[in-house]
């Protein structure tokens, strides 16, 4: 059995490497771009895409009942949901591209995204 319970060289090495990886994960995975639309999925794969540029409220049918969403000032939040924990409501306002707000028990999810198709194009003509 190992008696010297000290921090060894390898421990420090592991720490440094992991710290760098964690730091790099921020850079790679965090984008600060504001979202332009919301992709809303209710149960039974119903999907609607709605712009964040007009303030509105809407309801989405889920597995347990109806969740209510509010869009204001290019942000979105859950205002009501038939779940027990109401974590979705507590997650508050979302506005960053890539953010998701979801009510898992009700199987309703909202993903915020931008207009351009995965940054492959600078603009879409249609």
């Amino acid at each position: 059995m190992d008696n010297a319970y000290r921090i060894k060289f390898a421990d420090k090495l592991v720490f440094m490497v992991c710290a760098c990886l964690v730091g790099a994960s921020y850079w790679h995975l965090w984008s600060d771009e504001p979202a332009q639309l919301a992709i809303i999925k209710g149960h039974q794969s119903q999907t609607q895409v709605i712009t964040l540029h007009q303030d509105t409220t809407l309801s989405v049918t889920g597995a347990l009942g109806t969740s209510s969403l509010e869009i204001k000032n290019r942000q979105l939040r859950f205002t009501d949901s038939p779940c027990n924990s109401k974590l979705c409501i507590q997650s508050g306002w979302h506005q960053r591209s890539g953010d998701i707000a979801a009510c898992l028990p009700n199987r309703v999810s909202v993903q915020l995204a931008r207009n351009d198709a995965a940054r492959d194009y600078d603009a879409i003509n249609f």
């Binding site: 440094m16 710290a19 730091g23 921020y26 492959d120 194009y121 600078d122 603009a123 879409i124 003509n125």
Partner: protein, 352 residues
């Protein structure tokens, strides 16, 4: 292993991590990107390589532009255009409306070059079909064919408007100017010019899918995706740089179904009915106003006549998808366009 040395290592590792993450961002190609709901559609503005002070001011200025233009040129609201339209119908002379004269003159030229296919004077016909309403939930039905036939007997043209120094008058009681197929292009041109006044050289203004881009995106051209008329995906892309507009007219933009037939908003002035030979037309041209009018005119011209009209309008890059789904284009466009998945069969025309 003291607490101090642990703290030192943590600090070092943390700074290293920060360094790694920060090297990803670079200042020179700052991108400004905003989308706003105006002119009845979503308008996206992208500006590259300018500081916040410049982009914020420029953006605020063009937001004002859009509001003003939307209100002034809306074909059916109570505004200067409405007054002008009511005066035109009377045939009496009235003094020129300075905010609208440029639109009239420019569209008159384009109307002639398009052999009358682009015709903003047929607002009355648009109204018969119900496409003048902003309300998308309204109930639509095709108008009576006798009513349409009667309208056609004395079809209003842009040439029915006479401008004489400081006054103008109309020569056809059915005149009603609807710049729907043109105002977006003019608005985009005006706002691009305004951006240029701020010293901005690299930008895109994308008004509901129709756009004009100046300069380039950093050190490469702007990459524009073109959406498939029948699905939601991007099926082709084109690179533009310098100063070019890409405009598309489609049968899917505004339409209603009646007895399983699709009636869309691009009315052929010759028949009084929606042009039904085409699904979509994409035009690349320098200024947006011409591109907008051309996209409309070429849509109406259809697979048989688009080449003739494009020639007389001076358009150099056209892609037309006819009602069967066949893709027509001229050789210069074929050289520029890239298809994202399989390349469809292209019907190449003579050069433009």
């Amino acid at each position: 292993m003291t607490l101090l040395s642990i703290a030192r290592y943590c600090l070092f590792a943390g700074m290293f991590a920060l360094l790694v993450s920060v090297t990803g961002c670079s200042k020179p190609h700052r991108e400004f990107n905003e989308t706003v709901f105006t002119m009845g559609t979503l308008v996206e503005v992208t500006i590259i390589g300018e500081e916040e002070a410049v982009t914020d001011k420029a953006y605020a200025a063009i937001l004002d532009d859009f509001s003003y233009m939307h209100n002034t040129w809306h074909p059916w609201q109570r505004n200067a255009l409405a007054r002008l339209n009511s005066l035109l119908k009377t045939g009496a002379a009235f003094s020129l409306a300075p905010s609208i004269l440029p639109l009239i003159e420019h569209s008159a030229v384009l109307s002639e070059k398009s052999h009358g296919l682009f015709n903003p004077a047929i607002g009355g016909l648009v109204k018969l079909w119900g496409f003048h309403q902003d309300d998308y939930d309204a109930i639509f039905s095709p108008p009576d064919e006798d009513v349409i036939a009667e309208f056609l007997t004395d079809l209003p043209q842009m040439s029915d408007i006479e401008v004489d120094n400081l006054t103008m008058y109309g020569k056809n009681a059915n005149l009603h100017l609807d710049f729907g197929g043109f105002a977006k292009g003019v608005a985009v041109d005006a706002t691009i010019e305004h951006l240029r006044e701020f010293g901005i050289e690299n930008a895109i203004i994308n008004a509901g899918g129709d756009l004009r881009a100046i300069g380039k995106r950093g050190n490469r051209p702007w990459r524009i995706g073109i959406r498939d008329p029948r699905s939601d995906g991007v099926f082709a892309s084109i690179d533009i740089s310098g100063d070019e507009s890409v405009f598309t007219s489609g049968d899917y933009e505004r339409y209603f179904m009646s007895q399983n037939k699709r009636y869309h908003h691009i009315i052929d002035p010759r028949t009084g009915y929606p042009a039904d030979q085409t699904r979509s037309v994409t035009v690349v041209h320098s200024d947006a106003a011409t591109a907008d009018a051309a996209a409309t005119a070429l849509f109406i011209a259809g697979p048989e006549q688009w080449h003739r009209i494009a020639t007389s309008m001076g358009i150099k890059f056209v892609m037309l998808i006819d009602k069967a789904g066949n893709v027509h284009m001229n050789p210069a466009m074929a050289r520029r366009i890239n298809f994202t998945q399989s390349t469809p069969e292209i019907i190449l025309s003579k050069p433009l």
